[in-house]
């Protein structure tokens, strides 16, 4: 089966233990989760998971049904890359010295539309928001100037279709 990247959005209750149940749907099929982000949604009291995985279409179809089977999950969706707008944020900690000693770092920050969040005597923190390829590109460019620490968030994504969650739920006789 050909593997592709899928982004899943899961709307759920905000209850302890549900994260376990959600990740288990993937791990029992030995599917690695590339990234996972949780947050509030546009509806008060409804929680939202964004999960990125690489798997086959038939697997992701089954997974979405098994996610929806969880009692506390209201609805789950899966999308291919072209059906969503997505972002990630990355933070890079580098020594302040490297900025002082080389004009290059400043040029890299400008060229990548990154920004400096803080400058301390010893280190500074750069932020870059974008697709993974973009935050990774900045990482590669900063590498020669010694990255002291690097972190990238999970993907967050908004689906392009205009239909709202409440409309999906109304279709299946559930109401918020």
């Amino acid at each position: 089966m050909e593997k592709e990247q899928f982004t899943l959005t899961i709307f759920s209750e905000n209850n302890i233990g549900l994260l376990n149940r959600i990740t288990d749907v993937f791990s029992r099929r030995k599917i690695n989760i590339d990234s996972l982000t949780t947050s509030a949604s546009e509806t008060e009291g409804i929680f939202r998971f964004t999960i990125v995985v690489e798997t086959s279409l038939s697997n992701v179809e089954r997974i979405v049904k098994q996610l929806e089977k969880q009692v506390e999950v209201l609805k789950a969706f899966f999308y291919k890359e072209d059906q969503i707008i997505h972002q990630e944020v990355a933070l890079y900690k580098i020594s302040t010295q490297s900025l002082m000693h080389s004009k290059k770092v400043e040029q890299i920050i400008r060229a990548n539309h990154a920004r400096i969040l803080t400058i301390e005597p010893e280190f500074m923190v750069i932020e870059k928001t974008g697709h993974q390829s973009e935050t990774q590109a900045l990482f590669e460019q900063l590498k020669p100037y010694e990255i002291l620490s690097f972190v990238r968030s999970g993907r967050i994504a908004i689906a392009k279709p205009m239909k709202r969650l409440s409309a999906y739920l109304a279709e299946v006789g559930q109401a918020l």
Binding site: S12, E13, N14, N15, I16, G17, N20, R21, D24, R28, G45, E61, R62, K65, Q66, E68, K69, V71, E72, V73, L74, V172, G173, Q174, A175, L176
Partner: protein, 581 residues
Amino acid sequence: MNTQIQDLETAQANTSSKIRKKVTGAEALILSLLEEGVDTIFGYPGGAIMPVYDALYHYDQQLHHILTRHEQGATHAAQGYARLAKKAGVCFATSGPGATNLITGIADAQIDSTPMVCITGQVASHLLGSDAFQETDIIGISAPVTKWNFQITKAEEIPGTIAKAFYIAQNGRPGPVLIDITKDAQFETIDFEYQKCQKIRSYRPVPPLNHQAILQAAQLINQAQKPMVLMGQGVSLARAEKELLTFAEKTGIPIASTLLGLSSFPTSHPLYVGFLGMHGNYGPNVKTNEADLLIAVGMRFDDRVTGDLKRYAQKAKVIHIEIDPAEIDKNVKADVAVIADAKEALQGLLPLVKAQERPDWLQEFAACDQTEHDQVVSKTLAPNTPKVKMAEVIDALSRLTQGQAVIVTDVGQHQMIASRYYRFAQPNSNITSGGLGTMGFALPAALGAKLARPDREVIAIIGDGGFQMTAQELGTLMQYQIPVKMIILNNSFLGMVRQWQELFFDKRYSFTEMANPDFVALARSFKIEAQQVQAREELSSGLENLLNHKGSFLLEVVVEKEDNVFPMVPTGESVSNIRLS
């Protein structure tokens, strides 16, 4: 935060019961169980659930507590109870090992869709996460094998959570729920008020019937030349036996059954064509690959039913009637999916399907039956071996009970033989561990079943291996005088594994031979009447003794050591390549 929203919603949808002032969490639990109509609990006390047991002490007239000899026994007893009572079985266990001992039964209930509510005690909430004595993360451990679980740390959460637990366990596709209650929540006092749960916003047990899908299904059924119904446990869970019978008789469609579907259609009916799958009947297996339409009713296309999926039912369109949307297209792609309760779906279909007779198609099954009879059944039942064969025992039992008993089987050769040779004449008569294949299931499940339906004859058929996995439950039979009949088919082997070793591992009988205890003496030590049958001539009288005895009775039948179960679809093979020898 959200539980509050849900509680509010529930409160609006319900009428409230009377308020009882200042009851402990433990008593609130007992009162909640009574509100849910619970009359029987299977359990085992221990430190973290002692307040609950103390509360139970005052309610022993309303709540019948059965002290099993192991928590696993409690879960299987609750399963047996649930299958016959048609409502959730209830278990109590303490924290730590008490809770972990429940897991096998919970997993069994999950895969076989059995409603069950398990209550576990937990260490006090201030000790959670500290590796306290008998602390285990039972919520984490049980999550993958429960339909829902929840940890209660405050007494005020008890009534609402118990209401939710029963609602979830018993609605939609049934399943097990585990509720973990910290010891401090059991001691804390609240004003008790109970409202039954009517809905949960994130859970829809049964969607409204899709009439478009029903129309499409009816059209496929009316056009089909060689249709076949695959009946699963969903028929019995929906209590749709009558609807299925009417449907079959109107459309003339042959009915085949999965392991858990057995007894939902009378085996003597001319449209009944037999048992599907690995050790099922010849006809329904090979005809699956000749059928032009499969109508799957409340079944999930388990690999034991389908064999190799790439060579499964390639000529057939598939109508899948199933309450759980996650089963649709999971193993076999459905041409028409009817996500519904089996009863509702069949009722919807009935007026739309044409009355037909299909003598030619049924004749094909009859021819297969003849083949199976000549090549398998007649040989298996022939009294031509030094020791009795398992099938002879089941055949005789079927005759003596006229197919009216509840048969509870364990797992292995005897299970397949019982499923093949017992001629079920009554619905709700087959209790077995199907999906999980749990050895040790039968004895405790039978005691639970007997408590649910004391009016029915409950007979556990068990292998010598499986019997020894939960033999301690003889103590439970003894203490509560539960008249369960037990037949041990003793071949001093783990027979099914031995059969595979013979067929697929060049007869290397690696650790399958068993030195067994004196089962008769063992039973008698529990004050249970028992008898051993060695010779074929003693079989009938032995079975009669078993059936005529008032209390529980154990009949050990020493059977052929190296008997095999045929037909057989070897793992990974197509159902068409079913072996007759």
